[in-house]
């Protein structure tokens, strides 16, 4: 479905994740973060670019991996993106919601 974020029309899925990563911009990220009640700081941006980089390399993301990334520890990850940091941070980063293996 289409959604207008930060004055830009983007394609999102039913959970609000961008389906076309090329439509992601910093402004779109800020607007999604705003919807989640988050003001993006430099620390947030460091995490976002790490996530995008990992996604590009095809790495399956998990809380454990992020804790070992050297970018951030799990405690801070939760402080930056409260209540489900992985699903919120990936949404802001414009990458798919990680499906934990089942």
């Amino acid at each position: 479905m289409e959604k207008t974020i930060a004055g830009k029309t983007v394609e999102v899925n039913e959970e609000g994740y961008l389906t076309d990563q090329s439509q992601w911009t910093r402004e779109v990220a800020e607007a999604i973060a705003g919807e989640e009640g988050i003001d993006l700081t430099e620390r947030h941006w460091a995490v976002i670019s790490y996530l995008q980089d990992q996604h590009k390399q095809g790495v399956a993301l998990s809380i454990r991996k992020i804790g070992k990334s050297g970018v951030i520890d799990i405690k801070e990850f939760y402080q930056l993106f409260p209540n489900g940091p992985l699903k919120i941070s990936t949404k802001i980063a414009g990458i798919p919601k990680p499906a934990s293996c089942i």
Binding site: A60, S62, I63, R64, N83, G84, A99, C101, I102
Partner: protein, 414 residues
């Protein structure tokens, strides 16, 4: 004489020994299987032991009983794999050389990964059930437990048999109701996932059953530590859940053998090509079952479907032919929902579990994603199938290694 070596005689390794023995030329190939445990455990039975539905004896058989004649069983502890030398080092210092290696070393609960899990309350108010000892200890605890806060908890994904924690919550509900103390028990289900299951349709079905049974779900809970003194679990975001009895599924990790061998991922799973089951470590190393890093369930049914493809691929590899590249991640799980009912899931890498009929499309007799008595009987019958057919490599009637879309209500078919 060449040697094919299988590491691990659990569900996956035992099946491979049985599949390969008749197809590899006996003058050319010797098959060896290394396993330290003298007992083969029927692991799907672990969820029934705590509720006195199975006795511990019913899930144990000698390992050697399922190893076919002519296959060497080496009853020793494995130290590490040396892929460059094509050999495996055993803990007693001996070595086994191989031409082809199949890794079937599984996955194991690792409570030490969570701070405080192995503290003063371990096996007193904190229990795991996915080990033989843990399920028996939980049974003994439950027999005279007066009630209170009963918390079923998953530490981290992925875990072996991902539906088992839900089953334990459902079976606990029935167990306490039968004992007449359900009103004295508050059951909650604490998970790091955003819902009861990762695949949306199944998650909704399970959430409905949880509500019906008055089981509270606490999602998005990534445990940081266990407070033994005040009996609570605390997540990284600061959320706390108090318990009187914590039934936890600890972080699952691949075998320490993989860690010592130096080629596992951060949870000791072996990097594996998802269609062929060949490892990414070396072409003559293959992986089956829970030991791999494949993005599908860690479950016996998956190992069963993998076994057919791996048997074909081992033969192709020997002949120097291209490998079959079509394992689809097929998984098939019975889920006990209590009160003598169960539901059934059938899915793969791409297709989420949906409603339908199984195994015969349009007929059943089993129903997908719906509770029924027949599904429960299917689950109980499965123990017989496991000992008598599955481990021995016999085909299970009507069930193929590739998931079928027939008889399923599939939306948005691509």
């Amino acid at each position: 004489m060449k040697r094919l070596l299988i590491l691990g005689a659990g569900t996956a390794g035992t099946m491979m020994a049985n599949h390969l023995k008749p197809v590899l030329g006996k003058d050319e190939w010797e098959i060896t299987i290394a396993e330290e445990s003298k007992v083969h455990y029927y692991q799907p039975g672990y969820i029934f032991i705590p509720f006195d539905m199975y006795t511990p004896e019913e899930v144990c058989r000698p390992t050697e009983e399922f190893i076919p004649e002519g296959v060497n069983l080496v009853n020793k502890k494995i130290d590490r794999i040396l892929p460059d030398d094509n050999k495996v080092l055993m803990e007693d210092g001996s070595e086994i050389h191989y031409d082809i290696l199949i890794i079937a070393t599984g996955t194991h609960p690792s409570p030490e990964e969570t701070h405080g899990m192995l503290g003063s309350q371990w096996r007193k108010a904190i229990f795991d059930f996915y080990t033989f000892d843990g399920s028996v200890a939980l049974r003994d605890k439950l027999r005279d437990w007066p009630g209170g806060k009963f918390v079923v908890h998953i530490a981290e994904m992925p875990i072996k048999c991902p539906v088992a924690p839900l089953e334990v919550a459902f079976l606990a509900d029935s167990y306490f109701a039968e004992k007449g103390i359900r009103d004295k028990v508050e059951i909650s289900f604490v998970t790091p996932m955003s819902g009861a299951f990762t695949r949306p349709k199944a998650a909704r079905a399970f959430e409905h059953i949880l509500v019906e049974k008055n089981i509270k779900i606490i999602p998005d809970f990534a445990v940081e530590r266990v407070d033994n003194e005040d009996k609570k679990i605390i997540d990284y975001g600061g959320t706390e859940v108090s318990f009187d009895l914590l039934v936890t599924v600890p972080t699952n990790k691949g075998s320490a053998v993989i860690e010592r061998s130096g080629f596992g991922d951060d949870l000791n799973y072996v990097p594996t090509h998802k269609g062929t089951l060949q490892s990414k470590v070396k072409p003559n190393i293959f992986v089956i079952g829970d030991a791999s890093d494949l993005p599908t369930s860690k479950a016996g049914s998956v190992a069963h479907f993998e076994a057919e493809i791996l048997t074909e691929n081992i033969q192709r590899y020997i002949k120097g032919e291209p490998l079959m590249d079509d394992f689809d991640g097929h998984a098939n799980c019975f889920v006990e929902t209590g009160e003598g009912k169960a539901l059934l899931l059938d899915f793969n890498y791409n297709q989420e579990p949906v409603e339908g009929t199984f195994p015969i499309p349009g007929v059943g007799p089993l129903r997908l994603l719906k509770e029924s008595r027949m599904n429960h009987l299917g689950k109980l019958a499965f123990r017989w199938i496991y000992w008598n057919m599955l481990l021995k490599g016999a085909n299970v009637p009507f069930v193929s290694s590739h998931m079928t879309e027939e008889g399923k209500k599939i939306e948005n078919k691509k």
